[in-house]
C-alpha cells in the first residue's frame, strides 16, 4: 500500500509544487501536532479528569457508605438472631433441667412413699404381731388359770378330796402344765381320761392343749 502511494507520490512530486512525498513529515505539522496534544493534555489532565475522578470517588464513597450501612444493619440483625437463639437454647436447657429435676423428684417421692408405706406396713404387721402375741399370752394366762380351776374342780370331784392347800395345788398344776409343755404328757391321755367324767369340760381342755402345743411352735417360727 505504502509502495503504491510512494510510487504515485514520486510522480506527483514532479507535477505539484510544494507537495512532498507523503512519508516525509511537513515540519510545521509535526510541531503543531505536538502543540495540539500538549494543549489537549493540559486541558484534560487539569480540567476534565480531576472533575470526573472526583465524581467517581464521591460515587464510590456513596455506594460504599450505603453498603456499610447495609452491612451494619445485617450485623445487627445477626446479633439479634444470635441473642434470640441463645435465649431459646437457654430456655430449652432450663426446661430440660426442670423436667429432669421433676422426674428425679417424682422418683424420689415415689421411693420415699414406698419406703414409708413399707415401714408403715411393717410397723402395722409388727404391732399386729405384738398384739397377737400379747393376746395369745393373755389367753395362755387366762387359760392357764381357767384350766387350773377346771382341772382342780374336776380332780377334786373325781378324787373327792378338796385341794384347798393353794400352794400345793398351784405347784401341782404348774408341774402338770410343765409336763404338758415339755410333751411328756400326751394330750390324748388327758382326753382319754377326761371324757368319761366330764364330757362338757373336755372341749376347752382340748383347745387349751392344742394351743399349748402350738404355742412353742409359733414362738419358734
Amino acid at each position: 500500500m505504502q509502495f503504491t502511494a510512494t510510487a504515485s507520490s514520486v510522480v506527483s512530486l514532479a507535477t505539484a509544487e510544494g507537495a512532498k512525498m507523503p512519508l516525509i513529515p511537513h515540519i510545521p505539522e509535526l510541531i503543531f501536532g505536538l502543540v495540539m496534544i500538549g494543549i489537549l493534555y493540559w486541558v484534560v489532565s487539569t480540567k476534565v479528569v480531576p472533575n470526573l475522578e472526583k465524581a467517581y470517588e464521591e460515587r464510590r464513597a456513596a455506594i460504599e457508605g450505603g453498603m456499610e450501612q447495609a452491612e451494619e444493619a445485617q450485623a445487627q440483625a445477626q446479633a439479634a438472631k444470635q441473642q434470640y437463639e441463645a435465649q431459646l437454647h437457654e430456655a430449652r436447657t432450663e426446661a430440660n433441667a426442670i423436667r429432669e429435676e421433676a422426674r428425679a423428684e417424682g422418683a424420689s417421692i415415689v421411693t420415699e412413699m414406698r419406703e414409708k408405706a413399707q415401714a408403715e406396713a411393717s410397723r402395722i404387721t409388727e404391732s399386729a404381731k405384738r398384739q397377737i402375741e400379747a393376746e395369745r399370752q393373755q389367753a395362755v394366762v387366762s387359760l392357764r388359770s381357767e384350766v387350773g380351776a377346771l382341772s382342780t374342780t374336776l380332780a377334786s370331784r373325781i378324787v373327792g378330796e378338796s385341794l384347798e392347800d393353794e400352794v400345793r395345788q398351784k405347784g401341782m398344776i404348774d408341774r402338770f402344765l410343765a409336763e404338758l409343755e415339755s410333751g411328756s404328757v400326751r394330750p390324748e391321755k388327758v382326753g382319754a381320761t377326761a371324757p368319761a367324767a366330764a364330757p362338757a369340760a373336755d372341749q376347752p381342755a382340748q383347745g387349751e392343749l392344742d394351743l399349748g402345743a402350738d404355742g412353742p411352735a409359733g414362738r419358734d417360727a
Partner: protein, 272 residues
C-alpha cells in the same frame, strides 16, 4: 489498495477510450497537500487549522460536560463519562492494571479523543479530510508516546535495568544477545514506526478511496448515458466507503491508544 489502483487504471483507460468531454484524473497524494498561508516547507496547511479546531472543540466540550461532575450525573456528564470510561477502563485499566493506570489516563484519553475527532474529520463535512493523513501529526503523537514509555521504564528500573528487563528470564545464555538485539529493535524502531505508519496509512488510504469513488461518480455524470447509469453504483460504493471509513477511523484511534497503553504497561511490567 492495489485493487483500487487497478480500478483507477481501468477507469482512466475507459475514460480515455471515450470520445466524450473532459479527461478523468485519478486522485494523487497531492489531494492531501492543502497549504493556506505561505508555501513550501513552512506553509500553514488546512490540516493544521482543523487540528487546532479539534483541540479547541474538544477542550470546550469536555470541560463543559465535566465541569459540574456530580455523583448523580446529568445527561451531558453521563455521555462524557461513557466516552471517558471507554479510554479509562476499556483501555488504560485493562492494559496497565489497576495499580498504576490512573496516572496515564489523561494522556491516553487525550490521545484517543484527539485521534478520534481528527479521524472522523475525514468524513464530516465541511472538513472532509483526515488530519492524520498527514504523517507529521501521527509522528508528533508517537514521539509523545515514545518518550513517555521509555521515560517511565528507565525511571522505574534504571537505564541498565530497563534494558535487562527486555530479555525474559530463563533463556539459555547464548541466545540472550540476539533476543536483546531483537527487543531493542522492537522497543526503539518497530514500535514507534508501526504505530505512526498504521494510523497514517489507514487515514491516507481511506481518504484516497473515498475521493476516488466520489470523483469517479461525479465524472461519470458528465459523460454519456451508460456512464451516467454507472455513476449510481459508484456513488453507492462511495457511501459504503463512508460507513466503512467511519468504523476504520474509530478503530484506528482505539488501536493507537490501546498499543500506547500496552507499551506503557510493558515498560512498567515487573517481568517480561
Amino acid at each position: 489498495m492495489i485493487l483500487t489502483a487497478l480500478a483507477a487504471g481501468t477507469t482512466t483507460a475507459v475514460v480515455a477510450a471515450d470520445e466524450g468531454g473532459g479527461e478523468f484524473h485519478t486522485p494523487t497524494p497531492d489531494i492531501f497537500w492543502l497549504p493556506i498561508v505561505g508555501e513550501g516547507d513552512w506553509a500553514i496547511t488546512e490540516q493544521m487549522v482543523w487540528g487546532g479546531v479539534s483541540v479547541l472543540l474538544l477542550s470546550v466540550v469536555m470541560v463543559a460536560l465535566s465541569k459540574n461532575a456530580a455523583v448523580v450525573p446529568s445527561k451531558g456528564q453521563w455521555f462524557m463519562e461513557g466516552f471517558y470510561n471507554f479510554a479509562r477502563n476499556g483501555v488504560a485499566r485493562d492494559m496497565i492494571g489497576t495499580k498504576h493506570f490512573l496516572k496515564f489516563v489523561p494522556l491516553l484519553f487525550s490521545l484517543f479523543s484527539l485521534i478520534l475527532v481528527n479521524n472522523w474529520f475525514g468524513i464530516i463535512p465541511p472538513v472532509m479530510n483526515p488530519t492524520m493523513g498527514r504523517i507529521g501529526f501521527p509522528i508528533a503523537l508517537v514521539i509523545v508516546v515514545y518518550v513517555v514509555y521509555h521515560w517511565i521504564g528507565i525511571k522505574k528500573m534504571g537505564l541498565g535495568g530497563y534494558f535487562a528487563h527486555m530479555v525474559p528470564d530463563g533463556l539459555p545464555g547464548w541466545i540472550k544477545p540476539f533476543i536483546m538485539l531483537l527487543e531493542i529493535i522492537t522497543y526503539f524502531i518497530t514500535r514507534p514506526l508501526t504505530l505512526a505508519l498504521r494510523l497514517f496509512g489507514n487515514m491516507f488510504a481511506g481518504h484516497m478511496l473515498i475521493v476516488l469513488f466520489v470523483s469517479a461518480g461525479a465524472f461519470f455524470l458528465t459523460q454519456g448515458v451508460v456512464f451516467k447509469l454507472l455513476s449510481v453504483p459508484t456513488f453507492i460504493m462511495a457511501a459504503v466507503m463512508f460507513l466503512f471509513e467511519a468504523l476504520v477511523q474509530f478503530l484506528q484511534a482505539y488501536v493507537f491508544t490501546l498499543l500506547s497503553a500496552s507499551y506503557i504497561a510493558g515498560a512498567l511490567a515487573d517481568d517480561h
